[in-house]
Point group: C2
Chain length 177, copies 2
């Protein structure tokens, strides 16, 4: 069965700093029409850095959940930026580190309403080269946590960020920790 | 360091079928103000069902990416619905199966701009009790794929859905497949 949907028309209802919201009318496989609510996003890049059995995380207040979350260092691609370049930039800005980065995992966070792609890299040869250099309005703290503690915090529902959870379980499944 | 942000005011810029978009003005930890673009979502529920080394997936066209994706069965919580109830309902609607469901993993898909929580359950004792009963405008096909094939498709970037990737790697990390 062919499952595709064809755009008939669309309108932009909001164009903001980190996302654009479009509402499109589409033709369904059976010829009927439906509306699709589309969050357009430039994409994200993240870095899994594990050294000596410890994971580099950042503690950050996330307004949408009204609490602090632990996540691997990450951020949004700036206009036209390559994912690897964004990953290296975010790692340096958020933690003051540089590293050799290799592609590790690509995820679509929630495909029902956003087109974001999150590109996750794995770090080797991490070096501290300076302090943080955060964007205006960005507040976060880097912290190292043992892989086993991170797993326990995922199990207890205290670490929940999808890119962090996916990357950590991939790492554990491959390294047999 | 205390990292919280306090809402000063907000407005709803869109209120749709699957999401609401609010733009809030917040006070930052240093007293400055910033805007937060907030996608409000009722939450999702998903089911990891592995039987005889095969994972139950659904193949579905995702308009936001313009292609078909493979994902574990999942859907949105209807108003006031409990996550476990939504997981059972979606499993039945999308695949015609019922199962004993246990909480498995909770993820926040992309905490920078949505408040969605995805509740993932693991299935035991799956039974086919009928055919699909899809919502209007929903088209998808259930398919079983071996765990090893799913891992290969994640590695090659063909399976990308975050809830699916996280659940599969958790499963593999725990079962040592």
């Amino acid at each position: 069965m062919k499952l595709s949907e064809k755009k008939l028309c669309g309108k932009t209802v909001y164009d903001g700093k980190i996302l654009k919201l479009e509402v499109d009318t589409v033709e369904l496989p059976d010829g009927a029409t439906a509306q699709r609510e589309c969050v357009r996003h430039s994409g994200g890049a993240a870095v899994l850095c594990v050294e000596g059995g410890k994971v580099l995380l950042v503690r950050q207040f996330r307004y949408l959940y009204g609490k602090e979350l632990y996540e691997i260092p990450a951020g949004k691609l700036d206009g036209g930026e390559e994912p690897a370049q964004a990953a290296a930039r975010e790692l340096k800005e958020e933690t003051g580190m540089t590293a050799k980065l290799s592609p590790y995992l690509k995820i679509y966070p929630t495909p029902g309403y956003t087109d974001e792609v999150i590109h996750i890299y794995i770090a080797e040869d991490c070096k501290r080269v300076g302090g943080q250099s955060l964007d205006d309005g960005e507040f976060l703290e880097p912290v190292y946590k043992p892989v086993k503690e991170v797993l326990a915090l995922i199990e207890s529902g205290e670490i929940t960020d999808a890119k962090t959870v996916a990357a950590i379980y991939k790492y554990v499944s491959e390294t047999r920790i």
